[in-house]
Amino acid sequence: MIRDLAAVAVGGALGTGLRFALDLAFATDDGLFPLSTLIANILGSFVLALVVAHLWDRSPLWVRAGLGAGLLGSFTTFSALAVAVVQLADVDQWMLALIYLAATMVLGLAAAALGLRLGLARRARLDLVNE
């Protein structure tokens, strides 16, 4: 339990740091349409799906906790998405708010589907080699 929580904390700090670095790298003047959050959510969905399909059932709990709940859970975010949509609506950029939301959902879910598919395919190939 302590080892799992420590892994979540270390992963969480790392994931937050990477997301913050993306925020700084893709900072926009007006702060509207945060590209960094969109990139983090798509990339994080893809990588989480990949590792869930590829290594989850042969990884110890602390690895799953640190990598999944910690690193990738913290790298991606929902609150920044929600606040971005609200702030775009606040300045009457309704169309941009809708586009931002739709882009996150469609690309994020597609990235997760692709990651699961690739992870399972890679697993199947490895299993074949190990037989």
């Binding site: 989480l48 999944g68 709940a69």
Partner: protein
């Protein structure tokens, strides 16, 4: 930005991740609906809306705002678990639960952020 602020963002991020992990452990035995993600996304988005509202009316220190907004709220909430769980539910032919979960996260998360953000700005004017 000072190194102290960056360190505080990372520590707040670690705290958010632990709170989210503990929430997921509480609901680990109820696999019918992904409640844990909905709860952390709702609570974290509501807190984020509050912070963004306070920033809008200029009554929060910018350093504290980024520590709590990017660190705590950003890390307490998650998108990757939502997207991966949704695709897994769809793969298991539980499409109705998948659609309900996504809809509930959008409604509760954005609703909580909007209510707190606009509520605070309304109170201040």
């Amino acid at each position: 930005m000072s190194a102290v602020v960056v360190a505080a963002i990372l520590i707040a991020g670690a705290a958010g991740a632990i709170l989210r992990y503990l929430t997921s452990q509480v609901f680990a035995s109820s696999p019918r609906f992904p409640w844990a993600v909905l709860i952390v996304n709702g609570v974290g988005s509501g807190l984020a809306g509050t912070l963004a509202g306070l920033a809008h009316i200029g009554s929060i220190d910018p350093n504290l705002e980024i520590i709590l907004l990017t660190g705590l709220c950003g890390s307490l909430t998650t998108f990757s678990t939502l997207s991966v769980e949704t695709i897994q539910l769809a793969t298991l032919k539980r499409v109705r639960t998948a659609v309900l979960s996504v809809g509930a996260n959008l409604l509760v998360g954005i609703g909580a952020a909007a209510a707190t953000y606009f509520g605070l700005i309304g109170l201040a004017t």
